[in-house]
Amino acid sequence: MSSASQPIPPPNDRRGSRSSRSSSNAGFPEPMNSSDIAASESSGFVVGGPPGSPSPLALRASTSPHRRKSRGARIPPDFHLLDYVNTPDSNLICLICHCPFDRPVRLACEHYFCRICLDHAWDAQPEGCKTCPTCRHKVDADEEPLPVPKILERMLDELLVRCPNSKLGCPWVEQRSNLENHVMLYCEYALVECPASDCRLPVSQKDCHKGCLHYSVSCDNCHTSLLRKDLEDHQRATCQFRFAPCPHCSAELLRLDLNAHINDVCPKATVQCPGSIVGCKYSAERETVAEHETACPMATMAPFFRDQQARIERNEARFEPLVRKVGILEDGLSNITNMLYPANANDSSFPVTNPLDSNNPDAFPPAPLMPTPDFRLPPASFPPAPHNNDQSHSQPPFDSQIHHLLTLHDSLRDELSRVASALSELEGRTSMMIMNENQRVKEEMLHTNAAINGMRVQLHWLMSATLHQRTSASASSSATRAGGSASASGSGRSSASGTPTTGGATMRGPAVGMPPLRRLSDSIRQDTKL
C-alpha cells in the first residue's frame, strides 16, 4: 500500500502551465514566414516559444522528453488519428492522409499538405528533385514549402475533436488547438504507468492515486474474478446482478449507487429535520420532512447556524497555531534575556521576561545588592513602571520592545568598550612585568656564570696538581720495578683496587685523560662567551 502515497502533481503546477499556455495561444497567431519553418526544421521547436508559433505543431514537436518524463508516460496525440465531431470541410483535408491538415504547408503550385505527409512523400524522392505529390510540379527546395494562410490554420484550430481517450470514457470535446494541452496535462483518462514500482501495466491517470489496481478480485455480486481496476466498470455496466431495488422506495438502481441514493435522494428513507442541529427532534420520511421544513423555524435557521459553526471552527483552527507561535516567541525572548543577563537568569521579576506585564507589582523591585554593578544596565534605561493599573496597558515601561532592545544593545556596547580598554591596560602591565622579570633573571644568570668560571679555574688547578703528583709517583714505581716484577705487579693491582674513586683517570694515564679536560675547557670558553 505504500504505493498509495505516490505524489500527485500539485494542482497549482497544472494551473500554472495552463495559464502560461493559454496566454501563449491567446490572440491571433502572427503570420509564419518561411524562415520560421526553416528554423523549426533545423533546431526543433522551442517549448513555450513566441506567441506566434503555430500552436499545435510547436507543441507537438516539442514533445519534450522533459515533459514526458515529468508526466509519466503521456504520449502526445497524433493528429492523424483524431475523431472529429463534424465531418470537416473537404478543403481542410490533406490529400495524402485524408485527415484535416496537421501543421499544413503550401507549395508554390498552391497544393497543401501536412508537413509530415509531405516529408513522407519526399522521402521516396531523390535529393534535389522533389516534386509536388499532386501535380508533380518541381519544387524549389530553397523556397518551399511555404507557409499557409493564417485563416487556414485558424479554421483547423477551431475544429471540434473528441479526446483520443474517449473510448476509455473521457467526455472531453473541444477545439483542436486545446487538444495537446488536454491530453498532455489534464486528461484524467490518459494511460500512465502504474504507480507501483514493481508494476509496469498502464493505468488511467484518474486511478493513479489509488495505487496498483492490477490484482484480481471477485465481484461481490456475481463472483466473477477480474482485475481490481475493472471492477467499477464491471459493476456499472456488465455485472448481471448490478441492479438492486431500493429497500425503501423499491426503485431499481445500480448497487454501486444504492448508498448514495438512500443517503441523499430516496424519498422514502427516514431522515431528520435539517433543524436538528439546533434542536428540532422531528424525523420522518424524506418527503414528509421536506414539507415540515417549510414550517419549521429551526430548519430555517439551520443554515445560518451551520455557517456560524463553520466559522467558529475555522477560527479555532487558526487560533491553535497562533498560540504555539506565541509560546515559541516567548521562549526565544527569555532565552535572549538569559543570554544577555546571566546574573539575572533566575530572577523571574527581571523586566525583560515580561515587559508588558506591569500589572505585576513585583515587576520592578528595588535594585538588589549586586556584586557586579557594572553588568547591570544603567538604571536610567529602566524607568520604574507606574503601578497604576489604569495606565499600565496604554503605557508599557518602554515605548516598545524594540526601544528596550536598543537600550540593551547600547549598554552592551559600552560594556564591551570598557572591557576592551581594561584588557589592553592589563596587557601593557603584564608585558612590563615580564620585561622586568626577564632583566632580573639575566643578571642572575651572569652571576652564576661567573661563579661557575671560578669553580672551573679551581678544578683545573686541582687537576694539574694531581697529575703532577702522579707523574712523580710513577717515576718512583718504575724504580722499584727494577727490583722484582712480581712484587711490582702485585702493588699495581693493590693500588688499582685501593683507589677506586680516582682509578678511572689514573689507570688510563695522562694521554687518555687529556681529551675530557680539553672538552671541559672548550665548554667553559663557550660559557664565558655568552
Binding site: 492523424h80 488519428l81 490529400l95 492522409c97 485527415c99 513522407h120 522521402d123 521516396a124 499532386t134
Partner: protein, 153 residues
Amino acid sequence: MSTGAKKRILREYAECQNDPLPGVKINFDEQNMTKWEILMDGPDQSVYAGGHYKLEINFPNEYPFKPPVVSFKTKIYHPNVSNDDKGSMCLGLLRPEEWKPPNKVISVLHLIRNLLIEPNPDDAIELSIANDYKTNRAEFDKTAKDWVKRYAK
C-alpha cells in the same frame, strides 16, 4: 504500416461505401485492412457483361506513397490484364512512376471499370490480345464472351 496510413485506408473504405460504384462490392476485413477483396460485375455495355470478377487490391506498406497492387483472381480475356495466375494489372495511375499519393482507391476502381468497358490496347500487357482487339475485334469479342462463360459465371 503506420497508423496514419491505416486510418487513411479506413477512410477510403468509408468513402467507397458512401459513394458505391454500380456493380462493385468490397469485402473489407478490419483485421487485415491492407487487402481488399473486390467483387465486380462486368459492365452491361461491355463484352464482359454477365461476368462476376473477383479482384484483390493490396496496399503496400508505403501506401499512399506507393500505388496499390491490383490483381484479377478471376481469369479474364483482356489486353491490360496478364493472362497468368497473377492476373496483374499495371497501367495508368497504377504504375509506380505515375502514382501520386493524393490518388484514391475509388479512382482505381473507376479505372478498372472503365478498362472493362474500353480496354487500352496501346498500354497492353498481353500484346497478342491487344493485337486481336485492334485488328480482329469480332474474334476478340467472341473469345472474351467465351471466357466470361467459362470462368466468370
